[in-house]
């Protein structure tokens, strides 16, 4: 779904969202008040420039709109893979943005991320997986690495991986597979405005994705081991 199709569905009452250099920002109106919208579009790769711009948007909401819910609209093709960005410490720029999302939640903002396009590798961690809750549209795409690349790195035949990906969710790209690991709270279908409203009523104080993964069967061990070590 394109951003232009998405926004009216999320905010039937209207929005002031604009796009500058693939960075999405503005407010959406809902029955319960204004929602800050921070996002990216056109599958932009997240480099230092994009990460700083997104971070500035978070700081602005934290400073000027205390408590306002934040909806992150996610569409990226991963982190930027460029020498200049790595040279200057891209990891730190990503971590900085991640901490702002986390601090926003701690400071009383509801922070929900919605993957409406792509979300890949470092881009998904930078912008999506570190929100209070992460959601996705059914036709969106989440992946760490595409199968041909996995085949190259693991030296396994692509046909084998393709066959395996039909039954083993833990490595295969796609929203359905990622949902099973517990990484997505829900896949939003139907009335997106309702979905969003409902998400902003959730208690985001605990990370329960390990339990979701256990319930859904995508991560059979994680929750058990976490508990074991906590109680050891």
């Amino acid at each position: 779904m394109t951003l232009q199709e998405l926004l009216p569905k999320l905010f039937p009452a209207g929005n002031t969202v604009t796009v500058t250099d693939n960075i999405v920002s503005g407010e959406g109106r809902t029955a319960s008040g204004a929602v800050s919208v921070i996002g990216t579009t056109n599958g932009t790769r997240l480099g230092i420039r994009e990460l700083l711009a997104l971070s500035r948007l978070f700081i602005n909401v934290l400073r000027n709109h205390p408590g306002q819910p934040i909806l992150m609209l996610v569409d990226n093709n991963g982190q930027k893979m460029a020498l200049e960005d790595e040279l200057l410490g891209l990891n730190q720029y990503i971590a900085h943005l991640v901490k702002l999302q986390d601090l926003a939640r701690r400071n009383g903002h509801q922070v929900a991320a919605l993957v409406y396009g792509n979300s890949i590798a470092g881009g998904f961690i930078a912008f999506g997986l570190c929100a209070g809750d992460t959601y996705a549209l059914p036709d969106s795409n989440t992946s760490v690495m595409i199968l041909p690349a996995i085949a190259r790195v693991t030296k396994l035949p692509l046909e084998y991986l393709e066959e395996l990906s039909k039954t083993v969710s833990v490595f295969a790209p796609g929203v359905k597979n990622f949902f099973l690991t517990g990484g997505l709270r829900e896949v939003w279908d139907g009335n997106l405005n309702d979905c969003m409203d409902k998400s902003f009523c959730r208690d985001q104080s605990a990370d329960t994705r390990d339990q979701l993964g256990a319930e859904r069967g995508g991560r059979p061990e994680a929750a058990k081991i976490i508990r074991e070590i906590m109680n050891a």
């Binding site: 420039r49 700083l52 500035r56 700081i59 934290l62 400073r63 982190q79 893979m81 460029a82 020498l83 200049e84 790595e86 040279l87 200057l88 410490g89 891209l90 990891n91 730190q92 990503i94 971590a95 991640v98 901490k99 702002l100 986390d102 601090l103 701690r106 400071n107 590798a121 470092g122 961690i125 930078a126 997986l129 570190c130 992946s143 760490v144 996995i150 693991t154 396994l156 395996l164 083993v168 833990v170 490595f171 990622f178 690991t181 990484g183 990370d207 994705r209 390990d210 993964g213 995508g218 059979p220 061990e221 994680a222 081991i225 976490i226 508990r227 074991e228 070590i229 906590m230 050891a232």
Partner: protein, 295 residues
């Protein structure tokens, strides 16, 4: 030069050996030890051998008498890659800290990032680790990262380093998101030759990360240097606040602006004011620090 100076190096020590060397002697207690055999439930699909600790050692001990929770990744098992069990052990230990309230957490990084055979679980695991680290920091417990293993801290691990309170890194230690081969593939070998080791280390290595302000302690590659640096880090005050993140924003914006267009660490170091930046790779840590005073 004599034998004593060779010391016990950190780079090639195993994860358990590093913990032995960093912590107070005899104080380490492993949680979820290898005898539990919590092995990866996924690797068998790929016909890959498992490890009894899934490539990470977790536990508790003391450092200079202070209680610390510790995580040490084993870079030699699958490049320290983060999979389901690996990340769950780390998350479990971090969550345990909320109840046990140690003085600090030490995270000994040695990882190329997400384990591709368990890509989804690993990716989510990284996010859970970040969340748990920030929970711990929000509770006033400091989290320090040590980077000096052969795999450095790349991908998700590189991002996690940026979520710690402070880092101690040897010049052999590397931090980044995309690895050298990925940069070469994306930009062409004429821009970045991933087999040029000197270039790789000057880009990702501890010295550059220290000089650009990402790393608090640059240390020589020895167990004792890392231990002493970790002890020094213990005196830092916890701070995870909007003010601190705004200061970081300013710092990162200044860096981006000041070094815009730099394509080699030598250009960065020249702009930092070092008179002979091309000599920096051959300086010892002590020489570099005195050079910094002289610049």
């Amino acid at each position: 030069m004599n034998l004593q100076n060779i010391g016990c190096n950190y780079l090639e020590a195993s994860a358990r050996k590093r913990l032995e060397g960093i912590l107070d002697p005899g104080s380490f207690r492993e949680l979820c030890p290898p005898t539990e055999k919590r092995i990866s439930p996924h690797l068998h699909y790929f016909d890959i051998p498992v490890a009894f600790d899934d490539g990470v050692v977790t536990g508790e001990g003391t450092l200079d008498g202070k209680t610390v929770a510790v995580i040490a990744q084993e870079g030699r098992f699958m490049g320290g890659a983060i999979g389901e069990v690996h990340s769950a052990k780390i998350v479990g230990l971090l969550r345990r800290c909320l109840a046990k309230k140690p003085d600090a957490v030490l995270f000994l990084f040695d990882s190329g990032g997400v384990r591709l055979q368990e890509a989804n679980a690993g990716e989510l695991g990284v996010a859970e680790i970040i969340r748990a680290i920030l929970d711990v920091r929000a509770a006033g417990i400091r989290v320090f990262g040590l980077v000096g293993g052969s795999c450095g801290a790349y991908g998700g691990a590189g991002i996690i380093t940026g979520c710690c309170d402070a880092l101690a890194v040897s010049e052999e230690g590397r931090i980044g998101v995309s690895g050298p081969e990925v940069i070469e593939t994306n930009m062409g070998v004429e821009v970045f030759d991933s087999r040029d080791r000197a270039l790789v280390w000057r880009t990702f290595g501890g010295k550059n990360r220290y000089l650009q302000g990402q790393v608090r302690e640059l240390v020589e590659d020895s167990m004792e240097s890392f231990r002493q640096a970790a002890i020094r880090l213990l005196s830092l005050k916890p701070d995870y606040s909007l003010d601190q993140l705004e200061a970081e924003q300013k710092q990162l914006e200044e860096r981006a602006e000041k070094f815009a267009g730099c394509r080699d660490a030598v250009d960065v170091w020249r702009k930092l004011g070092y008179p002979s930046p091309e000599n920096i790779p051959s300086l010892t840590v002590a020489e570099l620090k005195s050079e910094g005073g002289a610049k």
